[in-house]
Symmetry: D3
Subunit: 244 residues, 6 copies
Amino acid sequence: MRIVVTNCNTTQEMTEEIVRGARAAAGPGTTVLGLTPGWGPESAEGWLDSYLSAAAVMDALRTYEGPAYDAVVMAGFGEHGREGVRELVDVPVVDITEAAAHLACLLGRRYGVVTTLERSCGQIEDSLELAGVARNCAAVIGTGLGVLELEDAERTEAAFLTAAERARDAGAEVLVLGCAGMTGLQQAVSEKLGVPVVDGVGAAVKLAESLVGLGLRTSRVAGYATPLPKRRGWGRSGGGAQAD
Amino acid sequence: MRIVVTNCNTTQEMTEEIVRGARAAAGPGTTVLGLTPGWGPESAEGWLDSYLSAAAVMDALRTYEGPAYDAVVMAGFGEHGREGVRELVDVPVVDITEAAAHLACLLGRRYGVVTTLERSCGQIEDSLELAGVARNCAAVIGTGLGVLELEDAERTEAAFLTAAERARDAGAEVLVLGCAGMTGLQQAVSEKLGVPVVDGVGAAVKLAESLVGLGLRTSRVAGYATPLPKRRGWGRSGGGAQAD
Amino acid sequence: MRIVVTNCNTTQEMTEEIVRGARAAAGPGTTVLGLTPGWGPESAEGWLDSYLSAAAVMDALRTYEGPAYDAVVMAGFGEHGREGVRELVDVPVVDITEAAAHLACLLGRRYGVVTTLERSCGQIEDSLELAGVARNCAAVIGTGLGVLELEDAERTEAAFLTAAERARDAGAEVLVLGCAGMTGLQQAVSEKLGVPVVDGVGAAVKLAESLVGLGLRTSRVAGYATPLPKRRGWGRSGGGAQAD
Amino acid sequence: MRIVVTNCNTTQEMTEEIVRGARAAAGPGTTVLGLTPGWGPESAEGWLDSYLSAAAVMDALRTYEGPAYDAVVMAGFGEHGREGVRELVDVPVVDITEAAAHLACLLGRRYGVVTTLERSCGQIEDSLELAGVARNCAAVIGTGLGVLELEDAERTEAAFLTAAERARDAGAEVLVLGCAGMTGLQQAVSEKLGVPVVDGVGAAVKLAESLVGLGLRTSRVAGYATPLPKRRGWGRSGGGAQAD
Amino acid sequence: MRIVVTNCNTTQEMTEEIVRGARAAAGPGTTVLGLTPGWGPESAEGWLDSYLSAAAVMDALRTYEGPAYDAVVMAGFGEHGREGVRELVDVPVVDITEAAAHLACLLGRRYGVVTTLERSCGQIEDSLELAGVARNCAAVIGTGLGVLELEDAERTEAAFLTAAERARDAGAEVLVLGCAGMTGLQQAVSEKLGVPVVDGVGAAVKLAESLVGLGLRTSRVAGYATPLPKRRGWGRSGGGAQAD
Amino acid sequence: MRIVVTNCNTTQEMTEEIVRGARAAAGPGTTVLGLTPGWGPESAEGWLDSYLSAAAVMDALRTYEGPAYDAVVMAGFGEHGREGVRELVDVPVVDITEAAAHLACLLGRRYGVVTTLERSCGQIEDSLELAGVARNCAAVIGTGLGVLELEDAERTEAAFLTAAERARDAGAEVLVLGCAGMTGLQQAVSEKLGVPVVDGVGAAVKLAESLVGLGLRTSRVAGYATPLPKRRGWGRSGGGAQAD
């Protein structure tokens, strides 16, 4: 089966890293294909970026011309758009935020999320709430690191471990990597913390494989019905990348 | 004071209608200025439209070059984007969904929303939940009418009255017009139903005036901090209106 | 329009202070009229005082013989009675507790309340819950100061700032003055804390003006129907003020 | 032990009926003493009556000059005041609303309340919520009968049975008599409905006996601390009964 | 009346201690009879023990051949089984977890539980949630002591007092002994802490007496219907006690 | 990998049917092994059966002597025991109740469960609540069929379709087969209803494969720590099957 993994930002290097994480998790018969939006923010940090990203990711899928695919994984932790993509495509759609939470719920009574900037915590809480999996979330904690600062693996790990302690104090028995850019970190921090650590990208790939394997598709009743045909403009003329 | 009222779609006639409603509610010293996004959906009906609309409205405000304004009213009932706009602009931002609910809570123990298509009910419920005002919402009911079908005032009123009965049965003591395009209907249906009916556009204008009058602005701490400077692309090149 | 602002206690000086705060917030066409109950507690601190106050305020309005008014603002933070007054009078009724919360929700993702004695925190939490606006309340914190101790502005400000830190730690991005007697403090503490601070008296005046401006009145369906005609006694014979 | 049972209204006949119900439930060593407020509403139906009743009941207890007592039972279903009385007296206080719910929770997974007028349902829901026992309440249903119309036992029973069906449909496995004036009805309707029916007056007497028997008293920490000494007026001069 | 008090484990000494506590609480006409399961864990600490205990206690009651009884008190704090026993027997069933919470709710606005091992806190939270009395629970705190370590009364008291401080900081105004093995401790710690302390065993005895006194029985509708006749095996052949 | 699927009852035919369902869902490298408890109920219908089943399933796994396995799937819809098994074994444990809900949440905004007897609905609701996935559950509906009556596939399908309509009316956009014995029905009813239908057995197999594939194991911190070594008896001597 083929899974399209959408990055939520325009940074190609991050797409590649996410694809590496997705491939590491994928089963033998699964092909992973990364999709970087042609526009949007270079990193999603905050609500404005998140809504911009949602539109850009929908546009990327809407105009996608590659080989047919069986599922979409949306790799923006806490970012918007999953319901829109569910309307848009005919295959199952799994967002890494909800995916990580679904698996975390199976591994302990309470889980916690460690993410990047403090400003993202609220978005993540809202995303978990609406996905229906917030009840057993003990805490969402920021490390203070920006998305594009995660490259320094050592610093990221140290910041993660510090934030993880606060999540543990709040009752978390399982931790979740709260950014697609943290993919790959799970094993090292899990060993150091002595608790399972769930990577949303891997989790979403497995859930997408599960849905496809079971022949399940998004319900078209009410909530996620196909978008109505109408005139829609996807961005301003000459809306290419520009520095704010 | 000057209030910018943003339509959530590209239909200029609807902007004008909304502006009429807003002006009817505005105080003597308030100037209302309508803003129609340059791209996005011609009507917002469903999640895909809503996220596209959120990006388009943010873009319209980001590139706005008119006279300075004191507040923004976002006139898309149940549509996304308010948190992003709060990050973007320095003045108070009031979304008509939350505005209607805030005032409705003051008028009865439980309120209900009557909206357009059934598919929009879920979005509205989510929007109320995250705004913190869902507790006293008894029901969100669809009329089955699309946004652009509301022009036929007689049919709209009849459909509203029918749906309102269901909201009443669910415990609603106050009703809310669940679409910006219903603005103006409130008096007629209120008299027929014998309960107060709140129009979100008017409610938002009054709340915006209230915040400005009190000198209150959006908190920049955590949640709605100013967007970080970075590269962002606002839509595809040549992304003007096109039929899906 | 004319707004009657009811003090929740019998202390005339506090009524005057509240009226000053209300007038500072009121629009140009609004007349504010203070109403001090003829009986009840000299300050409302705790449940017994609050229920006594509720009856006394209802009695003051029931027997009011002044000029006609367009709305009632109830200026007892966390005090009981708003539903009873909604039954009693034909004009909109806004309680400062809920009013502050409604506006605070528009200014940040989570708000906090800083009040007087710790014993009042529970009442305030209950009041916010039933008003339907508790979801986004991060904390209600006491300063340890009694209502009649607020006169010393310097001490009050210092105590407020200390308590505000605890609310901030709990996630509050916006603060609310949790006592009508704190009216006037908002600007100074807002500047020092760097977050918006909402005064309930001002908020309630603006919300009352909004409802009146929109022609909205309390629903008479179910919850707040007019009181049934029956025999009622309003206090003991010779029940004038006495020291407990 | 001696238990004072306070009626929430001034109707002496109802006090007597309540006392009969309380005595039927009381253990052999328990003396029940009825207390009718000297002022307040002749029946409590709605918020205005309820707040007036709360003050009147507190006043009755404050000025009570009879023999010492070991507990207070407050016999107003859904009426306000219990927290104030907890501050006022040094003995345990049990409100019949919460009492019925506490026992009902032990008898089935979900319970329902059948009360008098529809307008009282909201107050009862709020009372259960704040008492901490609303979670397992499936429904609160009105019979349409006023408090003083309950004397016609046959009509009351018939109305109860009809309303009970609606509670059953909503999932109630246990029913609660939602008015002190219904005391005595429980056995007949329980047999006809085939489910346990809890009378709040009896339940409260047993819970009061339980607390006294275990030597437990209201916590004075925070919430229900003793009222502060201050000047308080308990009603208007010459505030005796008068027809509204 | 006769009440059967079931220990949740096979330790006879603990049954005796529990019976002592139950008898101290019981009214003059009440006979208390202890029942120790013939199999199960020697102490219940964790989920595995709890489910094993639930089956063993049901088996003990199913095969009980003593004198007829009027109610069952289940003396395992936070342990499973109460709904199964409600199906099994025809008399009222009260679990000490819910019983303590019900009475604690009457004594303060928020209560806290102090229990044995940290690992039990989650079970207790779940038990309170499903019993419908978790809303006003401020915290469940562990002392770090195992069930069979409680014999050292001095150490237990010290550990209780330390943990109680944390519950108080979280808002608890009333405390609950979170283990049947703590029975008897309530008076000493209550005096030292200055707050009421509820023992679940005593609370459950009083609630059982209350239900019996009022002639109330478990509802047989839906939730707790009599078990269907079918083949059931109650444990492995030769499943007597063995060390794991 | 090898997955042990535990039946919750002693009916061998049902184990075989469940194993067929599990194998149909399993990936190519997965071996499914059915485990029937040596004691317990012949079908689990109600709380007593459920607790008995929990102990019997734990015993079956505790004394299991077959080949090593990588995960456990617990195939009792709404039955107890998952937390105990998580303590007991070192591999991931997935209960079909939670599994179906986790996947259903990914396919629509609200899901509904259709189960066997009405008496099981409450247990299922509780199970979903504690698993942290109840928020988006619109309804749990019974068909009135007992577990052992499901063999008549035609009748079962008809009953499912009827009950599904009620779930749909309550807002469900996705349905869940609420009994392991319904495995295999999903495709037929999905086509007839036009919505996705999730089978818990298949869902749990895929989730177990996912966890194993990602190298994730149950957290041993707090909640699901290894059972303490102690004396435990697993059932009465000679406790073999007997008719009640």
